[in-house]
Symmetry: none
Subunit: 236 residues, 2 copies
Amino acid sequence: MSISIILVRPQMGENIGAAARACANFGVRDLRLVAPRDGWPNPKAVDMAGRAIDLLDETTVFETTAEAVADCQFVLATTSRARAINMPALAAREAATELRNRVAAGQKVAVLFGPERTGLENEDVLQADGVLWIPVAPEYPSLNLAQAAVVVLSEWFAAGEVPPAADALGEPAPRAELQGMFDQLETELDAVNFWKVPEKKELMWRNIRAGLLRAQLTSQEVATWRGMIRALRGGD
Amino acid sequence: MSISIILVRPQMGENIGAAARACANFGVRDLRLVAPRDGWPNPKAVDMAGRAIDLLDETTVFETTAEAVADCQFVLATTSRARAINMPALAAREAATELRNRVAAGQKVAVLFGPERTGLENEDVLQADGVLWIPVAPEYPSLNLAQAAVVVLSEWFAAGEVPPAADALGEPAPRAELQGMFDQLETELDAVNFWKVPEKKELMWRNIRAGLLRAQLTSQEVATWRGMIRALRGGD
């Protein structure tokens, strides 16, 4: 099994094609797109993909990042900037080892890449379990989307088969189940006017979700947590 | 000190620009060209180089590979194919370590890249001390020139001094604070008869605490969570 590469709101068809080619070069078959700017399919992507066009034929398109990661159990968000989000950050090489370990354990894992000009929004990063950063020269840190994909994918390939970590932790729940729990918790916190100052909600809610994501809850734990939230609110 | 990147008979200006950009991304300042097909300077290279155009201004052009490596003490030739030439072959990662060691010892070192369509000729490879090969998927081994440069350069950079991870994670809260949160949560869950079957409490409660411990909450997050528990129970 392999990883999924997810391009979030990519702008240039050429970069989608180059990323598809890099996927093929490094043995990755699952390329996903979230809301590509110029629609899909895109002839410029085909031009750049070379012989990797078969991979473009199988590319799936989603409207939102949440939908694109719904079946994933571990997600990393590629970013060049340090972030105010409370989540683990892995350099590309460490990330490759982590991804290999999880794939070896049978998990579905994905790496997100942001749009060319702006990178990932905080909302996208919050769909991830951690941040992947690419070590670059501080004088000239801006990597092109396709080049960032090449670095991540070549590290993934070079990390090769790594024996699974002997870890008693259960499998993390699919993202869609976590989202269900988040929706429930948000609804209840809204109902009790938890935020008090509405402007504070965004940051507070982001931190709460980031904390819960770090816990890597299993499906059974998510069910327990949902029951707990319901019970605290007086349901049965 | 750093390495020299030498593009031998490059065909596309775009690839020269992309290679210059990758040099800048990974801290390499010395780009050399051997007999570029479309002459030099090349406006298409400038278009692709982004802010790395200062590096293009300093690019030196040679007529032959032998002249381009004349001042170098150790040279590797990038190639995707196995060769009938009897010389050491290093995978990109090993090569990066070898190059770092030699640069640290004060040597002038260079990496050769061949033309897009054909790769390096045997005559070029014979100017090198060894071959550098990039591990790729056997089903789709053909790397674009600029992407090959990204792999070699990112390996070079990663082999050097890597800055500490830009990890935004705060310090985990002291255990006593977590215990306070656990006590509060347990009291509230008891109050709403969450456990229903008393024999189940021990295991469920252990799992809930384990999930929260895994989140490595900071002191501030613990405070937020305590407020959240209180609010869900109808407190203010």
